[in-house]
């Protein structure tokens, strides 16, 4: 398809993107967007440096390849370069969504779906502002490389999201309800769930009191577990932070004990949803990578560059936010595996603690933080009064040893209106989740 320059490694990623976005603000239509566009990203490697070009002029990709190649130094031994050797040569057509292609759903059906939820909002006088949003995305990627990769694959998601502000006697709460899936039909029967969430939020708004700051045992819901896992440990498992850094390689030696015995964290690209990555943006096939298995550091996430540098295998985690960016090491769907207790058992064993049910956001470096939006005190083994918390935090590596209970069911969550940020690339769709986990000695502000 393209004439790749000799004595250089070249790959080309073409993206055909179809997006729908419908937004109602207090039942008034504000957006009804249907967007289709194409873009391309070209990479050339001469064994020393990479040269990238992002363009919307996809009719002239060949010209762009030729121009970019002028910046690189010809290298007769490029195919013997250890990074180039790591690139997989996958070929074929992998179109997963032909049976339930979101492109076959009309914009009218999407509008009707969203409007079917309006009566729930209208009947709730405490809701002063509500943004009802439908979004979907279908992306078909083509990937070609000078090594012979020739791929076409697709992925899609669709979601409804409600963002609402409650005011009860001057007390306010900004809250949300989301559902992301790959199958439009799954969005049709969520009315009861939305209503329950709103009812719960209203009671919370009325009764929530400021928390008494201090150290508590905290039970994380699956969404909080997911964010904790992603922010606190997932990012540390991205191997680009370790390349050429002897201290980090020593610290992150595979086989090292890093957490409690029943803690296992996995990243895998084959779970349908926002983290579905059948092939990464270097053409590597998805993988299931245990980051921690039974408390032991077991793996990390790689691009070809980092895999070569650390003499490990590629994992299918080289991802770009879109055609404007180069792939870097990113997570796909990352979660803690299930344990052996029920949620109820976890709660019943806490004398005084906190249940974090929902969150606004989270972040993680050596210290992780989560900003809870809905939390409750736990007293004498029972869920008690709702409390307002600004942030909870803890030291990441210490916290992995402070987990003293893991529930036996997991839930994977997605964020339809945001995603993961790393350096300049935000938001990248990812999945995350896990079970309820109970963690001791968390700082609560």
């Amino acid at each position: 398809m393209y004439i790749f320059p000799e004595n250089l490694y070249t790959d080309v990623r073409l993206e055909e993107v179809s997006i729908s976005e419908i937004t109602y603000e207090n039942k008034e239509l504000r957006q009804n967007l249907k967007r289709n566009h194409k873009g391309g990203f070209i990479r050339i490697f001469d064994g020393e440096r990479w040269y990238y070009s992002s363009t919307t002029d996809i009719d002239n990709i060949q010209e762009e390849i030729d121009n970019l190649a002028l910046m690189a130094k010809k290298n007769e031994k490029i195919n013997e370069n250890p990074v180039v050797k790591k690139f997989e040569i996958n070929t074929g057509e992998f179109l997963y969504f032909q049976d339930n292609d979101i492109l076959n759903i009309s914009q009218e059906e999407k509008l009707t779906l969203l409007k079917s939820y309006f009566p729930i909002i209208s009947k709730t006088e405490e809701i002063k502002m509500c943004r009802a949003i439908y979004v979907d995305s279908k992306i078909t990627k083509q990937f070609f490389s000078s090594k012979g990769a020739d791929l076409i694959f697709d992925y899609q998601t669709c979601a409804i999201a409600f963002r609402y502000s409650i005011n009860v006697d001057g007390k306010t709460l900004d809250s949300k309800y989301d559902k992301t899936t790959t199958d439009f039909d799954e969005l049709k029967l969520l009315h009861e769930k939305l209503k329950n969430k709103i009812d719960k939020d209203i009671i919370y708004t009325k009764d929530a009191k400021p928390v008494k700051p201090g150290k508590y045992t905290v039970i994380f819901s699956p969404i909080a577990t997911g964010v904790f896992t992603h922010e606190s440990f997932g990012h540390k498992s991205e191997a680009d932070f370790m390349v050429g850094d002897e201290t980090m390689m020593r610290e992150w030696t595979i086989g090292k004990k890093v957490g409690v015995d029943n803690l296992s964290i996995v990243d895998r690209g084959d779970i349908l949803g926002c983290g579905f990555v059948p092939f990464d943006d270097e053409g590597t096939k998805y993988n299931e990578t245990y980051l921690i298995k039974d408390g032991i550091l077991s793996g990390r996430l790689h691009s070809s560059l980092t895999a070569e540098s650390l003499k490990e295998n590629v994992t299918g985690n080289a991802r770009a936010m879109n055609f404007e960016f180069e792939p870097i090491v990113r997570m796909t769907t990352t979660y803690i595996e299930a344990g052996d207790k029920t949620k109820e058992e976890l709660i019943s064993e806490v004398e005084e603690g906190i249940l974090v049910e929902d969150i606004r956001h989270g972040a993680g470096m050596s210290t992780f933080t989560i900003a809870p939006s809905i939390s409750y005190m736990i007293r004498d083994g029972k869920i008690a009064e709702p409390v307002n918390i600004a942030v909870i935090s803890g030291n990441v590596m210490e916290t992995l040893y402070e987990i003293d209970g893991i529930s036996n069911e997991i839930e994977i969550v997605f964020f339809p209106l945001s995603g993961c940020g790393k350096m300049e690339q935000f938001p990248l769709p990812v999945g995350m989740g896990g079970p309820y986990i109970r963690v001791k000695n968390i700082t609560v502000q």
Binding site: E28, R30, W50, T56, D57, I58, H361, S366, V391
Partner: protein, 409 residues
């Protein structure tokens, strides 16, 4: 029928750094265009990236009127202005060479640190043109260095950060910022006192302003969902606190002087909070019309979307004091990295501070351990608001000072 074009051209060269060396060079050239038509109180929009067939786009925009997206507001008219704020910068080839030399210096001077991330030059041009006499063009350029710094012996993913944003490249400023940061980083110090004390945020850190910005949303105020819904016209904060929306050249970074609806404020400024009194929330045409609020020109939009309400370049007014004068002989806690903090619904503020320095108001004195800081919205911007410095006293940045509770994490 009113027809309008919203055109965005974006070009970039980005030098990506790995292990204190250039790893890659990236070029971008992205063109996006939105075509809007207004008729009978509705707006129709179509957009495209790359090569654009304008007549096709217009046809699609007209077809999209049938989607019946309400827009019963008068599009802007009779407004012609073009600004070009670009300054001369290095050519792409010169930039690559310069960055090689810059990182050679850093490797020699700071062998115990690893530098990564990127330095880039972005050129952007945004146009809004309609057949009612609007012809607005903003051409600008950003030179930015976002340098992630890691101590070689550290087990953290990164330990410090140095940023530089301007319209021209300055090796001296980039180096000076890194030198000051790392010199102080090497000197570990402890808190002079625990408890309430001056905390210094850099002016571009929006964390302390997060809650105010959320609650000053005109739609939130109008619908009664904002904490400030009953406080418009009331004095709720310190005399020293004034917040305005700025489109002034010196205060613009990557934002146009006009908003997505073609609104240009007189003197490029709209004051929202003046000397502690809440004047008005920020609004776009819809919000201003629906709730009878002043129009502040706060609409943003992607190229193919209906403009919507967004806080645009909100700036705290500087005092007439330097940071040293604001600290008034006390030492301050300068917050370089505070990730993950937030306010509760009622306005209680808390955040961990991953990297903080002690400062005398003129330089960074030493690195503090990880901290937590906390406060409360009305106090933070009331009695505990010390002010914003008139000088770029720390790391070539203006700063804001609050009296907040500080403790070790």
């Amino acid at each position: 029928m009113i027809k309008e074009k919203y055109i965005s051209n974006f070009k970039e060269i980005s030098i990506n750094i790995l292990q204190s060396n250039i790893r890659s060079v990236r070029k971008k050239d992205i063109t996006k265009m939105g075509f809007r038509v207004y008729e009978n109180g509705f707006i129709g929009i179509a957009g495209a990236v790359g090569k654009v067939d304008e007549s096709e786009l217009e046809k699609r925009a007209i077809e999209n009127l049938r989607l019946e997206i309400p827009y019963p507001y008068e599009p802007s008219a009779n407004l012609v202005k073009k600004v070009d704020y670009r300054k001369e910068v290095l050519s792409h080839e010169e930039l690559v060479k310069e960055i090689e030399e810059l990182f050679k210096l850093l490797r020699e001077e700071f062998p115990d640190f690893i530098f990564s991330n990127n330095i880039y030059i972005q050129d952007f041009e945004t146009k809004l043109i309609n057949n009612k006499g609007v012809d607005l063009t903003h051409i600008d350029r950003i030179v930015a260095a976002a340098i992630i710094i890691k101590e070689k012996d550290s087990v953290n993913v990164f330990d410090a950060f140095s940023s530089y944003v301007d319209r021209e490249y300055s090796r001296e400023k980039i180096l000076n910022n890194i030198r000051e940061t790392l010199t102080a980083y090497r000197n570990k110090v402890e808190l002079p006192i625990k408890g309430k004390q001056p905390v210094v945020f850099f002016a571009d850190d929006m964390l302390p302003l997060k809650k105010i910005i959320e609650e000053m949303n005109g739609y939130k105020v109008g619908t009664g969902a904002s904490l400030f819904k009953d406080f418009i016209g009331e004095k709720k904060f310190s005399d020293k606190f004034t917040l305005y929306q700025s489109a002034e050249e010196e205060e613009l970074t990557g934002v146009e002087f006009f908003d997505a609806e073609g609104v240009v404020n007189p003197d490029y400024r709209y004051t929202l909070i003046e000397n502690g009194k809440i004047i008005t929330p920020y609004t776009d045409k819809k919000t201003a019309s629906e709730f009878n609020l002043p129009l502040t020109g706060s609409a943003s939009s992607e190229y193919d979307k209906v403009p919507s309400l967004t806080p645009r370049n909100l700036v705290v007014k500087s005092s007439d004091k330097t940071l040293k004068e604001l600290l008034n002989g006390q030492l301050g806690i300068a917050v370089l990295i505070a990730s993950g903090g937030d306010f509760t619904q009622e306005g209680v503020f808390g955040t961990p501070v991953q990297l903080a320095f002690l400062t005398d108001g003129e330089k960074l004195l030493g690195r503090l351990p990880e901290l937590t800081i906390s406060g409360e919205l009305y106090s933070m911007f009331g009695d505990d608001f010390v002010g914003k410095s008139q000088n770029k006293g720390l790391l070539d940045n203006k700063t804001m000072v609050f009296n907040l509770e500080v403790d070790y994490i």
